[in-house]
Amino acid sequence: MTIEEFIQLVEEEFDDLDPGLLLPESKFREKFEWNSINALILIAVVKTEYDVILTADDLIRSVTVQNLYDIVKGRIQE
């Protein structure tokens, strides 16, 4: 999985996000209305696609899309 693929997946999942809006350095909470339902949607798509579970702590300590990607990528390789 490359970061581009990860971004594409996230963009497809969220209606609010226009393609190309999200970059690795984007602060994801500022790119669209971030709330608990969006957190669940993100957790669901990551679990379905990569069989990785993102916890509440993972989300709290992530600021950018790159941070999220690194966590997911790290767990896939474990």
């Binding site: 709330n35 339902i37 957790i43 669901a44 679990k47 379905t48 509440a56």
Partner: protein, 351 residues
């Protein structure tokens, strides 16, 4: 892992009742319109049934049981076990099952007891009642399952208030020498007990003046210690981590393929959880009925309610192989593989 089978148990019938009053998610003005629409789209609840003041779970179960007994043409005196499964009994003391035994006019020789379980209650109940039938101790039984959750949610808690609906159900189980076995896989992880909790009002934190204090937890969440508290992400991750392996172990144990099963009935937790579980199992949409749109998350009643509202026709007219999977408060979860054959299943009642 607790994998086991129970022979000689037949589901004879199934009935349910919901309150007449309903609330629409679109009218929930505590949150923005955008949030309401997002809630409907992802959590799946368009409307839910809400008990009027004074109406209890036992009332809904009673109505369902009366209708079921009449539809089955059972003599009330022939019922020798009544189990009430709920987290919203009539009183702290005594057990609600005893009150129901009398209300339904069952004999004094009838065994009655409560089981205090929530989301997983229906599957756990089938194992408890089924076990007593299999020993030969009892022949005809009533399992009454449901909750009035709306009594304990705070209007100002967007994480719980718009999710729950109220319902009560009654399932008739009886001894049958020819019935295929019910096969279970039941599990528990009490380390997650705080993920779904009402903190005050029982022995650990008895009712005090402080219990009533409303406190802001985060944006859109204000509640007291007498209100139901949900840790959405914890529950979500628990469900995604545990449910599918539990089901797969049961399928493997019984040598069953997913395509051998007619319907998978999940506890109606929320649409996002249930859809993700369905995708993880690679099950077709048509095989996984859902009632959350119209009734919300009805706690332990959600599986029998979905069976009645979505599968009544199929259950009444022939053989169905079902996989029921329940998960939640405790944390407690389990699945059961069973076969039904032309069961008595009247339409859902409004009370």
């Amino acid at each position: 892992m607790a994998l086991f089978s129970i022979p000689h148990v037949r589901i004879a019938g199934l009935a349910g009742a919901v309150p007449r009053t309903f609330r629409k998610t679109l009218d929930y003005s505590w949150i923005s319109l955008r949030e309401r629409q997002q809630l409907i789209q992802n959590v799946g609840v368009e409307q839910r049934r809400v008990a009027e003041k004074g109406m209890t779970t036992a009332d809904l179960c009673y109505v369902a049981a009366r209708q079921l007994i009449a539809s089955l043409n059972w003599d009330a005196g022939s019922i020798d076990l009544l189990v009430f499964i709920s987290q919203s009994g009539d009183y702290l003391v005594p057990p609600t099952s005893c009150i129901l035994q009398d209300r339904l006019g069952l004999l004094k020789s009838c065994i009655a007891y409560d089981i205090g379980m929530g989301c997983s209650g229906y599957v756990y109940g089938l194992s408890a009642v089924g076990s007593m039938i299999a020993t030969g101790a009892v022949k005809r039984t009533l399992m009454m399952v449901g909750d009035i959750s709306t009594l304990t949610t705070s209007y100002k808690d967007k994480s719980s208030y718009p999710l729950f609906g109220d319902a009560g159900t009654a399932t008739a189980l009886e001894y049958s020498g020819e019935a295929p076995p019910l096969v279970f896989n039941l599990q528990t992880d009490g380390s997650g007990y705080q993920a779904i909790i009402i903190r005050d009002g029982r022995a650990r934190h008895n009712l005090s003046r402080k219990s009533f204090g409303m406190k802001k937890i985060s944006k859109g969440i204000i509640r007291s210690k007498l209100n139901l508290e949900l840790d959405g992400i914890k529950i979500f991750n628990f469900s995604l981590r545990e449910v599918v392996p539990n089901i797969k172990a049961l399928l493997k144990h019984t040598g069953t393929e997913l395509q051998d099963i007619d319907y998978i009935v999940f506890h109606q937790a929320n649409k996002l959880i249930n859809e993700t579980l369905r995708k993880m199992l690679k099950a077709e949409k048509e095989k996984v009925p859902s009632s959350i749109q119209l009734y919300g998350n009805t706690s332990s009643a959600s599986i029998p309610l979905t069976m009645i509202t979505e599968l009544r026709q199929q259950l009444s007219t022939g053989k169905q192989r079902l996989l029921l999977s329940a998960f939640g408060v405790g944390l407690s979860w389990g699945s059961v593989l069973l076969e039904t054959d032309s069961i008595v299943c009247p339409e859902i009642m409004e009370y």
